[in-house]
């Protein structure tokens, strides 16, 4: 069994983004998805700081610090892109106009709760940014994360132990082991890495899973 690399997870997410989709890629891991969108497929990237039609990073030396993404890295604007202010930008999110957002996570629960903003450690300095708006705003929320923590604990859990970002908001989970749909009756496995058995995946997962092609309850 070979775990997906970060880039392989990103490529897997990119497969599920159709032409014409309005998409927000969260800071960190999800940013990688941009590198895997097929050329020629027109996809509209939204950045919370007031950009629609965000393009790739500029060439070295061509950075414009008035044109940055949510992670404050320099980006470019595609032909046909537009700028707007923060209330309009978050109105797009909250109003359900984004088809997909892709976010990182500490934990996702069986019910689709998301925890990705705060470890809950008492001395941690909290910071939330736009995560809570994205979690509840996009039509579909894709989570991209390692299946387990470095110490081997499952990040797909029965109940989140970390503070929540949003309640019942996740649509689909992409990990280095599998792709999992969050449905009303539970977590449905969509695909797994080659050589991994369903039993092994269940062993690596705290929350109960429903196998691919299993009959609906």
């Amino acid at each position: 069994m070979k775990r997906r690399t970060r880039d392989q997870i990103a490529a897997r997410v990119a497969l599920d983004i159709p032409e014409g989709a309005y998409v927000n890629l969260g800071i960190g891991l999800p940013t990688l998805v941009a590198n895997h969108l097929p050329r020629g497929r027109e996809i509209f990237l939204h950045s919370e700081n007031g950009i629609l039609g965000m393009g790739p990073a500029p060439a070295a030396g061509a950075e414009d610090w008035d044109l940055i993404n949510a992670g404050k890295q320099p980006v470019t604007l595609l032909t046909g892109g537009a700028f707007f202010h923060h209330a309009d930008s978050f109105g797009m999110m909250r109003g359900g106009h984004l088809d997909i957002c892709v976010l990182g996570a500490f934990q996702v629960s069986a019910g689709g709760d998301l925890a990705n903003w705060h470890t809950g450690a008492p001395d941690a300095i909290p910071a939330v940014g736009g995560a809570m708006d994205l979690a509840i705003g996009a039509k579909r929320v894709f989570i991209m994360m390692e299946h387990q923590t470095k110490s081997g604990e499952s990040k797909v859990v029965r109940q989140c132990s970390y503070p929540l970002t949003g309640v019942a908001c996740v649509s689909r989970i992409y990990t280095d082991l599998a792709t999992i749909d969050v449905k009303p009756d539970g977590l449905h496995v969509v695909d797994m890495v080659e050589g991994l058995s369903f039993a092994e995946l269940c062993g690596a997962t705290d929350a109960p899973l429903i196998a691919q092609h299993a009959p609906a309850l």
Binding site: G53, G81, A82, F83, R94, G95
Partner: protein, 228 residues
């Protein structure tokens, strides 16, 4: 390649069902999508709820839609005008329902729908007939009324120019309800004077980004019926 430009007014209006809520931009004639309204009459959907600032003038446009008996209810701020006789007659004979909304509450309720706000407290209308039966609250010593968003199935909007992604710019005070109605509808249908190449609209100047627009139809100004 994404191309939101459709070939005809009929294509632009495909799928409007009986009972739909349809927003129509415009303040007086400015920003009124006259050809889309004509197309809606032709399209034939009935029992519509119309959201517009007014309730039609003379015998054309919205008044013609009313006259054709396609409208069950109208949500607007200013139905009574010198030449609103079509509406007046239907209203007086109980053949149309009216929800009268102060203009700023109308605009804010439409904006709230587009921006995902569940409800908001507005000072407008407090203590008046138009707030009767509505929840009120004193906040920081000032009285407010709770108002809810107005969502629509379709918005018919008039803009000046569009590109194939649906980015829009408007002309002068014809902008009025267009940008917020486009944001509040499941399907925003826009009539423009001119379709331009992608990139022809300055990204600083686009008023409605394409994310709010589903269909665009070009009705050049020299073909469009003059509205006043």
């Amino acid at each position: 390649m994404i191309n939101k430009i459709v070939a005809s007014v009929a294509d632009a209006l495909a799928g409007v069902r009986d009972g739909a809520t349809v927003m129509i931009s415009g303040f007086g004639g400015a920003g009124q999508p006259a050809e889309l309204i004509d197309g809606l009459i032709e399209q034939g959907a009935r029992e519509l709820t119309i959201v517009n600032n007014n309730a039609g003038n003379g015998d054309t446009g919205l008044a013609a839609l009313l006259k054709a008996r396609r409208v069950r209810k109208i949500v607007c701020s200013f139905p009574r005008q010198a030449d609103s006789y079509v509406f007046d007659e239907l209203y007086r004979s109980g053949q149309i329902e009216l929800e009268l909304v102060p203009q700023g509450n109308l605009a804010e309720r439409i904006r709230a729908a587009g921006a995902g706000i569940g409800a908001f407290f507005t000072p407008t209308g407090y203590g008046t007939q138009l707030a009767q039966g509505k929840e009120t609250r004193i906040i920081s010593g000032k009285p407010f009324v709770l108002e809810y968003p107005i969502h629509a199935d379709f918005a018919l909007v008039k803009a000046l120019k569009a590109d194939r992604w649906g980015n829009l710019v408007y002309r002068k005070a014809a902008r009025n309800f267009g940008p917020i109605m486009a944001s509040a509808a499941q399907c925003a249908v826009v009539q423009v004077d001119q379709v331009v190449e992608l990139g022809a609209l300055d990204p600083e100047v686009i008023v409605t980004p394409g994310i709010f627009v589903q269909r665009v139809v070009c009705v050049p100004a020299h073909i469009a019926r003059a509205v006043a």
